[in-house]
Symmetry: C2
Subunit: 138 residues, 2 copies
């Protein structure tokens, strides 16, 4: 039950999920090493800290765990795109009156987008519109 629901990851949990999305199924050691490599600040992450977080995430259903071997292997339980969509919706709800589109306008308007990026966006819109006109979506 609650299959479609994605538990809201915290900031730290999201950091770990990102590692798992990039690396694929990983051991605690691998996750922890990666976290320490990518840290810009000097702050070292303790091994048991990563372990504990992964355990909590497992309880929440954010990650899957393979315990066949003594050294467990963890993997993200949800696709990156799905979690991203969730986070975007949450931000839209709390800061943009629930309108994701308003967020888009905000980024495009007040930001430093390169011509190439803008072209990319335009191309994407074209594709989306073609889809809509073909009557398959919406």
């Amino acid at each position: 039950m609650n299959q479609g629901e994605i538990p809201q990851p915290t900031e730290s949990e999201l950091e770990i999920l990102t590692v798992l999305w990039a690396r694929g199924p990983s051991t605690v050691r691998e996750v922890n090493d990666q976290l320490n490599e990518q840290r810009t600040d000097g702050k070292e992450v303790g091994y048991t800290t990563s372990l504990k977080l992964l355990q909590i995430m497992f309880e929440k259903g954010l990650v899957a765990r393979n315990t066949d071997a003594r050294t467990h292997v963890f993997s993200a339980a949800f696709a990156q795109a799905d979690v991203q969509r969730n986070l975007l919706q949450r931000l839209a709800d709390s800061a943009f009156q629930g309108s994701a589109m308003q967020m888009v306008m905000h980024v495009l308007g007040g930001h430093d987008a390169s011509s190439e990026e803008l072209q990319e966006v335009k191309d994407l819109i074209e594709k989306v519109e073609k889809l809509k006109n073909s009557g398959l979506k919406n």
Copy 2:
């Protein structure tokens, strides 16, 4: 010092800021009433809860406070658009490899945008491109 920095508002603080942006300078009573009106869940917010939050926000520099009268008047210390930009950047950093543009693509691609909204986005891009070509920005 640190003039440009906007302290990261928490979820509750953002809710209060939204009230202040909508209402303009307000007393604790006014903020608290508004919070209780707009709550969908039955949860009542206690008066002192709102008060305490506003006091904390004042210490953080998120709101300004006028104490001329006995009943203090609070107002948002930053423009809504600036805080929104900050929040977007934070999400981009934590979940989209720091690329706000990637967020835009994500929303436009995987989502339910109406034809009108898409047209709006296209119009905005046109405007932005005109600005860029006129050599004033970027």
